[in-house]
Symmetry: C2
Subunit: 347 residues, 2 copies
């Protein structure tokens, strides 16, 4: 099938990530035979243009996946749970952007630059009905691993301490709109409208709004830990020790992460920079003289993750510690681009 164009369905076609799927599929000239846009009944009938042709969004039903080779899902976990197995039964491969299947046994969780082999190992290919969900990791996990995996390959990451600076986009288009509206309201001296978050978001920040678990970590933080172990295939072996603190900051669409790394083996700054320079999907912005390092705006609307502040950890007397900072577009590499790159592994 490798050079053949595929029948592609987008589930959640009207959402922020769904729209970005179309953008990325277009940019990367993904080989599409027929395109089907699916969404809830509420969005059915809307139209979207793709490569100059107008498509009408159809209501997602159990019959939507006939003759579909590849379905890209980004419509929330409950939709994925219900419809991804139906799509697979119909013969499609599903790339799912929700958290529904990420930690499920037998479902590969893939960052193409990190563990592309997981797709083949799971026996997933186009036209092989019944085996076919691939999970797209959480955006913070993807962006972190883009920066960390090249170093992990060189020296083995023993422990990570990560603090995130997460953009509004991770909570959806309505959260981005709320940040914008609240910012206007604050600047006009008006009371702020709080529909999405229970806190003022404009000119403020807060602990990530995902469910809090009994151990005091929220779900977003635990995703970064558990997904990393799965992607690095550490489920049954020695696991990298990871602690994460996830924070929502008033930035629109790119996440930043401050990452402290402890390695099994020594790694110098120069070796780290060389590894990052050679890594696909990574760009360095690491100019100490100009005090120029990655910002979320550098990464916004870009495919690459931007890494900087690469330095030997002065809290350690050996060469087994590094600090670094990464910024990545939450909607692109954190979601749509990574999913399309997974799909590219199949063609």
């Amino acid at each position: 099938m490798s050079s053949q164009a595929l029948n592609v369905a987008i589930v959640g076609a009207t959402g922020a990530v769904g729209q970005e799927f179309l953008q990325v599929l277009d940019e990367r000239q993904f080989p599409i035979a027929e395109l089907k846009l699916l969404a809830s009944a509420r969005s059915a009938g809307k139209t979207t243009t793709f490569k100059g042709k107008t498509y009408t969004v159809e209501e997602l039903t159990k019959d939507s996946f006939k003759n579909v080779d590849l379905a890209l899902f980004s419509a929330g976990g409950s939709i994925s749970k219900k419809f991804a197995p139906i799509a697979v039964e119909s013969g499609a491969v599903v790339v799912d952007n929700s958290s529904a299947f990420r930690m499920a046994d037998g479902i590969p969780l893939v960052v193409p630059e990190v563990n592309p082999e997981a797709v083949k190992e799971a026996g997933i290919k186009i036209g092989n009905p019944g085996v076919g969900i691939i999970a797209n990791p959480n955006c913070s996990t993807i962006i972190m691993l883009m920066a960390v995996n090249p170093l992990h390959k060189v020296a083995g990451v023993k422990r990570m301490v990560v603090s995130t600076y997460q953009a509004a986009s991770g909570a959806g288009a309505a959260a981005m709109a709320e940040l914008e509206q609240q910012s206007r309201e604050v600047l006009e001296g008006k009371p702020v409208t709080m529909d999405i978050f229970p806190f003022q978001y404009a000119f403020n920040l807060f602990s990530h709004n995902s469910d809090m678990k009994p151990n005091g970590y929220n779900q977003e933080e635990l995703k970064m830990v558990h997904e990393t172990h799965k992607i690095w295939n550490q489920v049954n072996g020695d696991q990298t020790a990871i602690t994460t603190t996830c924070v929502r900051v008033p930035v629109m669409r790119a996440h930043a992460e401050s990452i402290n790394l402890e390695f099994e083996k020594s790694i110098t700054e120069e070796e780290a920079i060389a590894a990052l320079e050679g890594a696909a999907g990574v760009s360095l912005i690491n100019d100490r003289e100009a005090n120029r390092f990655p910002t979320p705006l550098d990464a916004s609307f870009k495919d690459d993750c931007y890494v900087g502040r690469v330095r030997r950890d002065i809290s350690r007397s050996d060469n087994k510690g590094l600090d670094l900072f990464v910024c990545g577009d939450q909607i692109r590499k954190g979601a749509a681009l990574n999913a399309v790159q997974i799909a590219e592994l199949l063609v």
Copy 2:
């Protein structure tokens, strides 16, 4: 002298911290006999009201400190370097908010809740001419230690990994105005005005703008490390290992910090929370069920530092690791309040 009112001079009286000095002195009913407001020639002649009385700002000169008992400086390092020794020669005690003397031998660096004894040990008291500069630590150091010191006393901090989320106020009133102006411009779709920072600040964030050192840490980060060692009196002994990443976020006046702690001894979450509950100047906001933790807006215009996200570090198998999050008002506890509290140690 203990119950006697003092002749007080404010150096940098028209700045953001200078104005906050007046606010805090008023609120805390600091015993003032005569008040003198000093600033550059440019600001001389301006008037300010204090306790219902109007004061005219005078130009700072070498003769400004006659009969002054206490001088609170916040006019930048070069002004402090030049005029603080003159003030001391004239018989005043100086509490200096700049970084000019913080690391100097014999100059106490004080957070009153942490090391109040350092003032007496240095032989500094009102009416003891010739010995008399006390340094106010960096805002990020103060806010960090407010959260960490109560735990350090219980279990001894062996290593800290800190990432900051720093407000505009740390770069002065002009930076706060630039954040506001840029936010308006972004919302109106206009190009942003960049006078203070070389990056867009609105809806963005960036590595702290202080000088970058050859080891890849910026000055702000190294202040947090070295000042902590001095405040904890670890200059000649075993030092707590500390690595810091300082980031400027689009928030107005309260800093936040994500702190990972490794302890010498075991400490449970319950013990940590008890220690924080009993700590002066600390308030807990640590409600897991409601997902309610400190935000910069909680801390803005408040004296206390707000601590939350207190949890056992899951990257460790023992009870020697904790993560937490702190927010503190950069202008109050990070600067003016801490300085006035130092002054209160003298009366």
